[in-house]
């Protein structure tokens, strides 16, 4: 099977389903890896299956495909049914509107700062399939949000900026200096810090103590020239970070795994605060943590913003992106598809940009 191209693999899957006398066919994002010709073939098959009386549930974010195959459209949001309508009775903007519209019940702690000078300049960055020709700027005194669907490439972008994914081409310029980032240590030394998406797998050494976790990226400043760790300095660092971030722990020798999600996230972030970071990247920082801890993370981001440190904030929760950011970049399939100032940003606009997949020339035809 692995010798077949993806489109043919899909054909095999469809054939397999049809062999079982299926009456209903469910297709989940089938066109993401197909060329336009292959998509044409697939739609032709779908249309002929429709004629033969099969029922097809077609799951997609690619709204431009609907006109070729959709008869009815059902919208789900946060695991709940929103609405269902005939495709020809509705418009794309109305569909988008139904996809978003989460009630923004919480008030987000937004602060206003004057925008300072440019900290980070990213030019034509390419790093694999999901980071394509990315260019953006980051200034002092602002929080820049990165919105988009899962798989849009936001995490891959943060990894490339942090040296965790290899960069193919492009420039990263920090405070006017061009950076050569090949490994995380290069980014760290340049002043870029990153709180990764999966804090248990990538952010923390879960079985080590809070103290060891906080000191790990700071060892250079805690050691003398022979590499011997100054234990008092280490204790002081942990104490001051714990106090600053209000990390609730029995003792700093407790293992990180015994902390709540919110406190774990504070440890992840706290590790970087001792360094003179110029840019701090937060990737889904409030995922899986309680409301009180979320607010503390927002306050932390605001504090960094106030200190003139650049904040990049990746999130899939639109309300919080709209609640905290000053500018929002929307990504789709590895490209930046939109830039919005907070004054003009709405959930609808973000979703529209987030579903702006690369236009493929599709001619509808019958099988």
């Amino acid at each position: 099977m692995e010798d077949l191209p993806v489109s043919k693999q899909q054909m095999v899957e469809i054939a397999k389903a049809l062999c079982f006398n299926a009456k209903i066919l469910i297709m989940d994002e089938p066109t993401s890896s197909l060329t336009s010709k292959e998509i044409e073939d697939l739609f032709a098959i779908i249309n002929s299956l429709k004629k033969e009386g099969y029922g097809i549930i077609y799951i997609t974010h690619r709204l431009e495909e609907l006109e070729y195959i959709a008869d009815r459209v059902t919208i789900l949001r946060d695991g709940r049914f929103v609405t269902s309508m005939n495709f020809k009775d509705t418009t794309l903007p109305e569909i988008i509107s139904n996809m978003v519209g989460r009630e923004i019940k919480e008030k987000y702690p937004r602060i206003n700062c004057n925008r300072g000078k440019k900290i980070l300049e990213v030019r034509n960055l390419n790093a694999g399939k999901l980071v394509r020709n990315i260019s953006f700027d980051l200034y002092e005194g602002e929080i820049v949000g990165f919105a988009g669907l899962v798989g849009a490439g936001r995490t891959e972008l943060t990894k490339a900026l942090f040296g965790a994914n290899p960069i193919e081409s492009g420039e990263i310029i920090l405070d006017g200096k061009k950076l050569n980032i090949r490994r995380p240590i290069d980014a760290i030394n340049a002043g870029i810090a990153c709180a990764p998406e999966d804090r248990k797998k990538e952010g923390l050494c879960i079985k080590l103590s809070i103290r060891e976790n906080i000191s790990l990226p700071n060892l250079d400043s805690l050691c003398n020239k022979f590499g011997i760790v100054n234990r008092n300095k280490e204790k002081e660092l942990t104490k001051s970070m714990a106090k600053k971030l209000r990390i609730k722990m029995a003792s700093d020798l407790t293992n990180a795994e015994n902390l709540s999600g919110g406190n774990q996230q504070k440890v992840v972030v706290g590790r970087w605060l001792a360094r003179n970071s110029r840019v701090v990247i937060f990737d889904e920082p409030t995922r899986g943590i309680d409301v009180a801890a979320k607010v503390e993370i927002y306050n932390l981001m605001n504090e960094l913003k106030r200190q003139g440190i650049g904040v990049m904030f990746v999130s899939s929760e639109m309300p919080e992106i709209l609640g905290i950011s000053d500018r929002i970049f929307v990504m789709c399939e590895g490209r930046i598809t939109g830039e919005l100032d907070i004054s003009e940003a709405t959930q609808d606009k973000i979703m529209e940009y987030a579903t702006r997949f690369e236009k493929k020339e599709i001619n509808s035809r019958t099988a």
Binding site: E202, I206, L219, G227, I228
Partner: protein, 333 residues
């Protein structure tokens, strides 16, 4: 006031991660000693204790080397072969008339080179440690065999008397030199593991290699270093072996890697990485040593000793894995 200071001193000791296990196995060690002492009161004679500790020192040294590798989440199967390679190279050179200290230096260079290869195979070529060190294990044993054209060496001669005394037969301040060497090795490497940046990196890699990378740890460097440390320890024990017998034997050190694993795991160093302290390895080595010595004293034949020790190794590793997986399961629930 005095009471308070005493209490907080003990509290600080117990707070050291890994101490819990060390205290448990130390108690087991004490019980074992008492049992063997009851079976044969000569067990506690000064002569026997002195011999016992001298016998334990080499196991302690390779145990420390293996512990470094285990804490990073890897394993070194080449320890035994490196002991053999070190023994044969040093002995062969000495029988050819090379000064014992020069021979030792050359031996160290060759064996550290082997350790470097193991380290690079694991860290750069990304070979699974089991496979990589299986390879170096076989190659090193091969080198041990061709060092003297497939023969054990002749006696290293009278000129090596100083060498033999230094590593095994001599005493300093009434205590066997080997014991001093073991002590110095422990103090030195314990300092590196517990007080230096590299030591921190070693624990970090064993705990979570991804998070370590994203914290700026140079994983290639740190992984290679632990294999070099292990190779150094094996080399040292190889030289001690040469000193003991006064010649080189091709199958010296056979199976030592597993004794090293046993000592480490009994002492609380987990085969899954990120946990354990060298003090535990010391106690683990003593348990191995006391078992060996005690059984010998009780008159058990070699075969029985091997079986008992083999069972202890397997049980120790099994318990380690069960306890670790059990903890992880409850942490994830």
């Amino acid at each position: 006031m005095q009471e308070k200071r005493k209490a907080s001193f003990f509290k600080n000791i117990i707070a050291i991660r890994g101490m819990g296990q060390v205290i448990t196995v130390s108690s087991a060690l004490v019980v074992m000693c008492i049992v063997f002492g009851i079976i044969n009161p000569n067990f506690f004679s000064a002569k026997n204790i002195s011999n016992l500790v001298r016998q334990v020192a080499p196991i302690l040294i390779i145990g420390i080397g293996q512990s470094f590798v285990l804490i990073t989440g890897n394993i070194d199967l080449s320890i035994g072969s490196l002991v053999g390679m070190s023994c044969m190279i040093s002995a062969t050179l000495m029988t050819k008339g090379v000064n014992p200290w020069v021979s030792s230096l050359i031996t160290v260079i060759c064996c550290l080179g082997m350790g470097l290869i193991s380290g690079l195979l694991v860290s750069k070529a990304k070979l699974p440690p089991f496979i990589a060190t299986l390879g170096t294990m076989i190659v090193a044993r091969g080198i041990a065999q061709i060092a003297n054209n497939n023969y054990n060496t002749d006696s290293i001669g009278e000129g090596a008397k100083g060498f033999r005394n230094f590593f095994y037969y001599g005493r300093t301040l009434g205590v066997f030199n080997t014991i001093w060497i073991g002590l110095i090795v422990f103090l030195f490497f314990n300092f590196i593991l517990s007080r230096t940046k590299t030591g921190r990196h070693i624990y970090a890699i064993g705990s979570n290699i991804e998070a370590s990378k994203l914290s700026g740890v140079n994983v290639v460097y740190t992984t290679t270093i632990v294999y070099i440390i292990s190779a150094f320890c094996s080399t040292l024990v190889g030289l001690i072996t040469t000193a003991i017998g006064g010649l080189g034997t091709m199958d010296a050190g056979n199976g030592y890697e597993l004794n090293a694993v046993a000592a480490s795991v009994i002492g609380g160093v987990s085969t899954l990485g990120g946990q354990g302290i060298l003090l535990g390895t010391v106690v683990g080595s003593f348990i191995w040593g006391v078992l060996n010595n005690g059984l010998q004293f009780a008159g058990a034949p070699v075969a029985i000793r091997n079986i008992v020790i083999g069972i202890v190794v397997v049980v120790a590793v099994l318990i380690d894995i069960l306890v670790r997986s059990g903890k992880e399961k409850s942490a994830n629930d």
